[in-house]
Every structure is written in structure tokens, then in C-alpha cells.
């Protein structure tokens, strides 16, 4: 086994995991909403991007706005439909409703795009790099770069800008935020839209790595759960670190033990952590 190769794989995979999870952790951290449709939104955006490049023949760059539009639209629709439940803070019903949404998205995608797997090829994924004894593509570089940039911008925004302060106030106490004159509903809408946009960007960058299926949303969301719970709910830095750790773990586990059981292994790690520390690695006060 080529250690360096697995390390590179793990690094790329880790950044991919972090990128996919970031929208979800922001939504959970600020609006306390568990979005079970996350995996299906990822899948839908991936298919839109694939359709734009492979079927419509448009340049790869166009798939970014196309997928983001889809992601934001879905996020917006979901938030509008769930609005009443959000304001009542009926988090359980919201959670189950997002399960329903995911199912609807799955059916819709299958109807529109069919049930066969597709390969989403991009000029970046075809451009390979051979360096000493490791191999990767420009797509991988793009994933790592985009993730680092997004996480840095996000962390800065939340900690230092006025908008970030607003979101932190809503995250801590929506009622007190209302008493400070904040339109909490608008913040929830924005956060849902952000989740859609973020997962869209993730899809456009990460989906080329494996074949895409309209049924993949179901499993896709598990890795996000693990990353977010391990990294601490709402913690941007935590998601990054947990994503990286999980990526490396998956790469080495897949190479050393069994590729088919990597998700199971990751899940086992999560269980182990949760049994030992039921609160996960929750972010300390003030830390983001």
C-alpha cells in the first residue's frame, strides 16, 4: 500500500467531507434545524451540474451558478413550507418533514434524470498530476482550495462582521434576538438558502469523484452527521478538523481493511465517541 497516496486521498476526501457538511452545520448551529434532505439536495445539485455540462454541453463554470440556483431554490421552498413549524420551534416535526422533503426530491430527481448512474466528468477531473509516487487530479486541488477558502471566509464572517453577530444572536436565543429588533424569520431564510448554496458548491466540486445516482442521498448524509457531531454542533473549525480526520480515517481504513465498510467504520467511531462523551465535542462558550 502506498502510504503517501492514501494520505493524499484522505486529505482530498477530508476536505470534501468538510465542504459537504459546512452548510448543514451552519443550519443546525444557527437555526437548530436538522435537515434530513441534505443528502438529496446534494444529489439534485450534482445531477443539475452533470446535466448542464454533459447534456447541454455548457462549460463547467456554468454548473456552479446553475447548481447553486437549484440549491437556494430548494432551501427557500423548504423554509417557506416549514415556516410555521420553525416559528413555533417545533423542531421534531421539522426534522420529520425534512425526511419527507428528501423523499420527494429523490422521486423528482428519478423522474427527471432517470435511475441509472451517471459519471460527472469535468476538465478538472480529467487533468491528472503525477508527482513522485502519488497521483491526483486538478479537481482534487480545486476541492481543497475551495474548502479552505470557504471555511476561512465563513469563520471570519461569523466572528467579525455585523451579519455574523446577528446570526450568533439568533443561534443563541431567537426570542432575545427578536427583542433586539432582529427579523428572525429572515435570518432563517438566509441560513436555509446558504445551506442550499453551500451544498451545491460541494456537489459541483465533489460529485465528479464518483458515479452519481438519484438514490445516493440516503447514504450521503451519514458522513455529514458524523462530521458535524464529532466536530461540535455549529462549530466551523470543528467541522473542518473532524472532516479531515474522517477523510484520513476513511482512506486508510478502506485501503487496509475493507472499502465497502468505510461508512460503517466511520459510524462505529461516532458511536464510540458518543458513548464516551454523549455531548460530542461541543464548542465551548464563545468559540466558533
Amino acid at each position: 500500500m502506498n502510504l503517501s497516496q492514501q494520505f493524499i486521498n484522505g486529505l482530498v476526501l477530508g476536505h470534501a467531507y468538510a465542504l459537504i457538511a459546512v452548510g448543514w452545520t451552519v443550519l443546525l448551529g444557527i437555526a437548530r434545524l436538522v435537515n434530513f434532505a441534505h443528502g438529496q439536495i446534494y444529489m439534485l445539485c450534482a445531477f443539475v451540474a452533470w446535466y448542464v455540462t454533459s447534456r447541454l454541453g455548457l462549460p463547467y463554470l456554468i454548473s456552479f451558478p446553475a447548481a447553486m440556483l437549484m440549491g437556494i431554490a430548494v432551501g427557500y421552498v423548504m423554509q417557506r413550507v416549514l415556516l410555521l413549524l420553525t416559528l413555533k420551534q417545533d423542531l421534531v416535526s421539522i426534522m420529520i418533514a425534512t425526511l419527507g422533503f428528501g423523499y420527494v426530491l429523490q422521486g423528482t430527481a428519478a423522474l427527471v434524470f432517470g435511475s441509472t448512474g451517471q459519471i460527472f466528468e469535468t476538465p478538472l477531473s480529467r487533468a491528472e498530476v503525477y508527482f513522485e509516487n502519488v497521483w491526483f487530479t486538478y479537481q482534487d486541488i480545486a476541492i481543497i482550495t475551495a474548502t479552505i477558502v470557504l471555511f476561512t471566509v465563513l469563520r471570519y464572517t461569523i466572528k467579525r462582521t455585523h451579519v455574523g453577530r446577528l446570526t450568533r444572536m439568533v443561534a443563541e436565543d431567537p426570542h432575545l434576538a427578536q427583542l433586539a429588533g432582529i427579523d428572525v424569520r429572515k435570518v432563517y431564510l438566509a441560513v436555509f438558502a446558504f445551506e442550499g448554496a453551500a451544498v451545491a458548491v460541494a456537489a459541483v466540486l465533489v460529485a465528479p469523484r464518483t458515479p452519481i445516482l438519484t438514490s445516493m442521498g440516503f447514504e450521503e448524509v451519514i458522513v455529514t452527521f458524523v462530521v458535524v457531531v464529532l466536530g461540535g454542533i455549529g462549530s466551523i473549525l470543528g467541522s473542518y478538523v473532524a472532516g479531515l480526520a474522517l477523510g484520513l480515517f476513511t482512506a486508510f481504513f478502506g485501503a487496509l481493511v475493507a472499502p465497502a465498510y468505510t461508512t460503517a467504520a466511520a459510524f462505529a467511531v461516532l458511536i464510540a465517541v458518543l458513548v464516551l462523551r454523549p455531548g460530542g465535542f461541543a464548542a465551548r462558550a464563545g468559540e466558533h
Partner: protein, 245 residues
């Protein structure tokens, strides 16, 4: 100075499944006036505060109108009533524990206005509450009860309120701190602020208010100028209740 009272609530009725939590025909706070609403637990004080802000726990039937400086606000959602100038310093959780004192103060929106509302800059607020200036980089969760009360009021002042609603500021505070906080509020009122003080601690409230309203089981049972209310036997009863409880 406009001719309207700063805050006015008319025919306010709040009911939960057959029970009447609050029945109020008229409540008014004039400009530069400090009005106190007192009563025991369950008298309807929280219901009053919540209905003024347009927020409710559960699904009550609410009817009546609320006016702020002559404009009707009862059809506005909570955050817009706040932006119109009705600021509540709530009971219990009243500051953001995970943000610093400084952030709590800068986090309040202060949109420029072209009316006569007095705006308090951060410097003004620190002058008023030097303790907060000393602790400006401490997290809200690290402040003592009294400091949190000060920060709650300071945050509200930052917004330039038309009317300040104080919900039971004395809870959990030592008597000396209570009088200190209320004296600061009184000085703000003397400088022109309109305040509605909701309190369980009748003795502390009656020292600073201009007018006092006594609530019992959701209804107004006594009302009048502070001096007159001091001699009212029902207030004496409420005193005893406050002392014994």
C-alpha cells in the same frame, strides 16, 4: 413633545382556553413618566408584557390595540415593534451569554432616525454604567446578576427607545442593587425616557414610580399616583404579601 402618550394599550384581553389571563381597559404611559405595574405571581404581569410585545406562549386569544407614540403597533410582529421603539428588558435570560459585553452593546441595531428619540452611544452607556466599562470584554455568562441587569438596560438604551419595558428587574438581586438599578432608571426617566416597570417587589417600585397600577388575577384593582397609592390598604396588603413571600 407630541400630545400622545408614549405607550397606550386599550381594551386588552388575553385568554387561554376559557380562562381570562388579562382584562385591561386602558393602560397609558406618558412622556417622561415612570409607571409601575405590580402584583403577585399569576396576577397577569407576564401576560401583559408579552401582549404588549406581540409575543405569546401557547395559543391565546388576544384582542385590543397597542399604540406607541400615537402609532398603532398591535398589527406588527415583535421585531418591528422593537424597531418602532418599544424595548423590553426581559426577565431571566436578558443578555447574550456567549458574546462579550461590548458585542452585546454593538449587536443592537441603531438605525439613524429623523425623529426626537434620544440615542445613547456606547460611550454614553459606559458613563451611565461604569461597571460595564470595566468588564467590557467579559462574556455575558460571566457577569453577575446585577451586571446583567445593567447590561440588559444598557442594550435597550442603545436602541434609543421610545418606551422602556422592564420585566421584574429585581428578581435575584440583592436589595441594595435593586435600589441602585431603579434609581438609575429614575434618572433616565427624569431625563425624558418613558418607562413601564413591571415588578413583584412593591416596596422597591413605589419608591421610584410616578403612578402605580395593582394587578390581581388579570384585572386592575387599584390605580393612582404613587403618593396616594402608598396609603391604599390594598397596597399595604401587597406589601405584606411581598414580605411574607
Amino acid at each position: 413633545m407630541s400630545g400622545h402618550p408614549s405607550l397606550e394599550a386599550r381594551e386588552l384581553n388575553v385568554g387561554y382556553a376559557g380562562n381570562n389571563a388579562l382584562t385591561l381597559s386602558l393602560l397609558a404611559v406618558g412622556e417622561g413618566e415612570l409607571v409601575g405595574v405590580v402584583g403577585a405571581n399569576g396576577a397577569g404581569k407576564s401576560t401583559l408584557v408579552n401582549s404588549l410585545l406581540g409575543w405569546s406562549r401557547g395559543s391565546p386569544r388576544v384582542s385590543g390595540t397597542v399604540w406607541l407614540g400615537g402609532s398603532r403597533i398591535s398589527n406588527l410582529p415583535t421585531h418591528e415593534r422593537v424597531r418602532a421603539g418599544l424595548l423590553l428588558v426581559p426577565e431571566g435570560k436578558l443578555v447574550f451569554g456567549r458574546m462579550t459585553v461590548e458585542e452585546n452593546l454593538t449587536g443592537m441595531r441603531t438605525t439613524p432616525r429623523n425623529d426626537d428619540r434620544r440615542t445613547y452611544s456606547i460611550a454614553d452607556v459606559y458613563d451611565l454604567f461604569p461597571r460595564l466599562a470595566e468588564r467590557r470584554y467579559h462574556l455575558g455568562a460571566q457577569l453577575s446578576g446585577g451586571e446583567r441587569q445593567m447590561l440588559g438596560i444598557a442594550r435597550a438604551l442603545r436602541f434609543g427607545p421610545r418606551v422602556l419595558l422592564l420585566d421584574e428587574p429585581s428578581i435575584g438581586l440583592a436589595p441594595r442593587l435593586v435600589s441602585s438599578v431603579l434609581r438609575t432608571v429614575r434618572s433616565l426617566v427624569d431625563a425624558g425616557l418613558s418607562v413601564l416597570l413591571v415588578e413583584q417587589n412593591v416596596r422597591a417600585a413605589i419608591e421610584v414610580v410616578d403612578r402605580l397600577i395593582l394587578l390581581e388575577r388579570g384585572r386592575v384593582v387599584a390605580e393612582g399616583a404613587a403618593a396616594a397609592m402608598r396609603d391604599d390598604p390594598r397596597i399595604a396588603e401587597a406589601y405584606l404579601g411581598a414580605q411574607a413571600g
